[in-house]
């Protein structure tokens, strides 16, 4: 059991290069259960690569990532995929919903992939759509809804499986400020209600303000900066 304040996800000495470009150069970071952590930095600083490494999407060249005592770096691709399905949730900047599925089906999809029956999955998805105030869009396709609405559907999809960590990469980057605020409010509120940690990549201080703690990435290295309440 991992309680509040206990590190849930810990990355140390992370190195990752893409050809001659060094994206991570000894980055280190830890996230506690229920914590909302913002990773900030300028464009090309390596913040998205750090998120991808922590989420097990890419394997770092060097360093270690521990998740609830397990070594993420040493896991096979299949195990990491399974972990992402069951324990992690994702929200990206845009275009992450499957265009041919309805909003309800998009939210139900992660549950279906973990073996849930369709009706059961859709019932839970409906609950989450209602929680994010987009239940009226259940039957509509992503192409028929606004950017802010689509992003709330994406948040519902990220949280529907009850993940331990939600990774959000520039979740409001394609939204206007009003919609961005609303999405962030709902994301952090829902995460807190479910005790999920949120790892948020952003370069906007306004978005980072929703976090408990900020980490700045500069030239592939992390600088921890505790927020002053």
């Amino acid at each position: 059991m991992t309680g509040p304040g206990t590190p849930l996800l810990v990355g140390t000495g992370l190195h990752k290069s893409f050809g001659p470009t060094r994206a991570l150069d000894g980055a280190a970071l830890s996230v506690s259960a229920g914590e909302v952590l913002a990773i900030m930095g300028s464009s090309g600083s390596g913040k998205s690569t750090l998120l991808h490494c922590l989420a097990g999407i890419v394997r770092p060249d060097a360093g270690s990532i521990g998740y609830r005592g397990a070594d993420l770096v040493g896991m096979a691709d299949k195990e990491r995929s399974a972990l992402r399905r069951t324990d992690f949730g994702f929200v990206f900047q845009f275009g992450q919903l499957v265009p041919e599925l309805s909003c309800l089906e998009n939210v139900a999809l992660p549950l279906r992939l973990t073996g849930a029956r369709r009706k059961q999955a859709e019932a839970k998805a409906t609950e989450w759509l209602a929680r994010l105030e987009v239940d009226g869009l259940a039957k509509r396709r992503p192409g028929d809804v606004s950017g802010g609405q689509a992003q709330r559907v994406a948040v519902a999809r990220a949280l529907v499986t009850g993940p331990k960590v939600v990774f959000a990469d520039e979740p409001t980057g394609a939204l206007d400020s009003l919609n961005g605020e609303k999405v962030m409010q709902m994301l952090t509120q829902a995460a807190r209600e479910t005790h999920a940690a949120v790892v948020l990549v952003t370069h906007e201080p306004r978005v980072a303000a929703y976090s408990d703690r900020e980490v700045v990435v500069r030239d592939g290295r992390t600088v921890d900066r505790e927020l002053v309440a």
């Binding site: 992402r84 992690f88 994702f90 990206f92 275009g95 089906e105 999809l109 990469d169």
Partner: protein, 758 residues
Amino acid sequence: MRDLALGLRLAVGGGRMSGAALLRLAMTAFGIALAVAVLLPAAAVQHLVGAQAERKAAIAQVTQPRAGVAPLLVHNWYASAGDDFVRVAAVAATGANSPVPPGLSRLPAPGELAVSPELAAKLAGPDSGSLKAQLPGRVVDRISREGVSGAGDLTAYYGVPAAQIEAEADGRKVYAFGLPYTGLGLSAAMLAVIAPIAAVLLLPLLIFVTTASRMGAAQRERRLAALRLIGLDARQVKRVAAAESLVGAVIGLVAGIGFFAVLRTFVADILPFGLRVFPEDFVPSWPLVGVIVLLVPGLAVGSALFGLRRTIVEPLGVVRQGKPVRRRMWWRWALTTIGVLFLAATLAFDRGEGDTAAGLALAAGSVFLLVGVAALLPWLVERLVGRLHGGPPSWQLAIRRLQLDSGTASRVVSGLVVVLAGTILTQGVITSLSAGGRQWRLPDGVAAVPVQVTTTAAHEAEVMALAGSVAGVTATHPARTIGFRSGPERNFGVVGDCVALKAEANIGDCADGDTFYVAPPGGTAPTGKVRLQGLSPAGAVDGPEWTVPRDLEVVRPAGTPDGRLLITPGALGGLTLPDSSVRVYLAGTGDPQALTDSVARAVQPLAWNARADKSDYFGDFDARDKQLVESFRSVLITALLFVLAVAAMSLLMLSIEQISERRRPLAALSAAGVPIGVLARGALWQTAIPVVIGVVLAVAAGLGLTAPILRLADRTMIVDVPVLLTLAGTTVVAVLLVTALTMPLLRQVTRLDTLRSE
């Protein structure tokens, strides 16, 4: 022009083409090349047939006397070996200015043969023994192209003394060669048959070209929007798009023409069914070439512009006109209904009554129904997938995608359906007809007399002597063909010993003095006095009267031409028969073909007056029929595989396009832990569903159309299971292959860099 030049430059990308652009260019060029390679031979057919008809007119024999011309004496006959029939013209000049047939520099002297190119090739082949045995004389000359109608003609001119032809009643005097060529009229009926077939064959290519030219549409639209931003107006942008498509079209056109040029060189060796053509005849008509050169690239350009018809390219991006396109159903239903009505009309005809009207109704009905079914397919797929729900996530991804847009995939499959159904129909008809094609069966007695020589009464003794002396021949049994006239009524029959008669029909026990009547169903045997008639090429010659015996035995053997009298010599009571055609049956030992060849060589000096054949001639026919059916099946399967390959390539392009367009959601799903297998299975179902619906529809339509045709032909329907299994297997392989080929792209789009949003 400047816009066109810009479009051309963008199409080739200044040497830095993206993978999608290169693929689009390659696929467009390939599709156009295929279309051109199919159209050019089609455009050459008219010239090919015309050239043959023109030469046929040029070698026609003119028998109207011409003043001052010493006629050429000609006697035509056929020599055969196996399934080769050689038209031999015995020729003899009557004067110095006797006409020389076209293709010859001089007339062959007595005993000399001039042979057509195809005959010369056959005689030079390894299995030419039987053919050589059948042809008299020695080959000294070859007929040039001007002297034969088609490259596959088996013809020969054989020099003989004039007296030999003058002795023949059916010899002819030829004063000149060549009739005016009146041209090759392509009747409206012919066009009505050819046009839909051409349309059906071109449909898959058409779809392929249009799909290819619309590949990478999203990327192109972004590029066009960028051009709008720097100041190009809407019309200019369309011209740029047209020029981009033109590049692939022109490359394809050049490749297609090149392919045709190569094909033309080898055309003589690659045609099926033993068909032969002179490459010189295989020339497309220039006006049609002009049409193809303009039309095919025009098609690629047109389809690219058609794809943009509902798209407004603005400087800041692309706007689509949101009006949903309503599928017009009336013409689809009209085509299908007309087809059904035509087919229903054939029910008014009785079984086996395949006359012209029924045949036309059937042909028209089949074509209408085939095209109608293909036109209905998009609607049917839409309806069917609209009802599908549930299933695992991969299935859900596929059906939702198809529910969103199944039109393009259905159109791709439509072409396949038409060709597939047409193939099943043709194959079913051929298989069923060939299985029940021959109603006759050879009598059991044929085995005892493996060789027969057909001759005239005048040469009967000579044939008996020559053939009887051949090593391996143990006995000769002449059978004379006789007519029996009683007032206006006329019957035919054969006079011969029991061995000969048993080779004519299964008559059971036989002794000299017996007479048999091979009765047709419901037929009654002739009675009373009849006049015997000798039958020969010169006509019928009356002989003495004969009374049909009262103890005539009526037999009804299966599979024998009926209504004939079979008479042993003892039953004629010593009457002298009039001169008539004689079939001399030869009993013997050893291989029937080798014995036939030996006998043919022995009677060779008698030329057309004695023709040796195997008595079991059906065996050769059966082998030829079987070979023809096999060739036909190979051609159909090849055509089918070709169409399937084209359809598969179209589906592949479609899949690539769709994956490219959805790279972000796919990458997001993959990041969220969705196994690539789920996405791959989604792609597999997405390709498989329209194809399976199409194939099921095609099989149903193909078999459904075969039934009324065979009903009119009064034949039992035989389903060619191997062809259907080949079809099903190939379809499955094609779908799997298309999915497998999309996997690299799927892996690529689910990689990390697709997720980067900065």
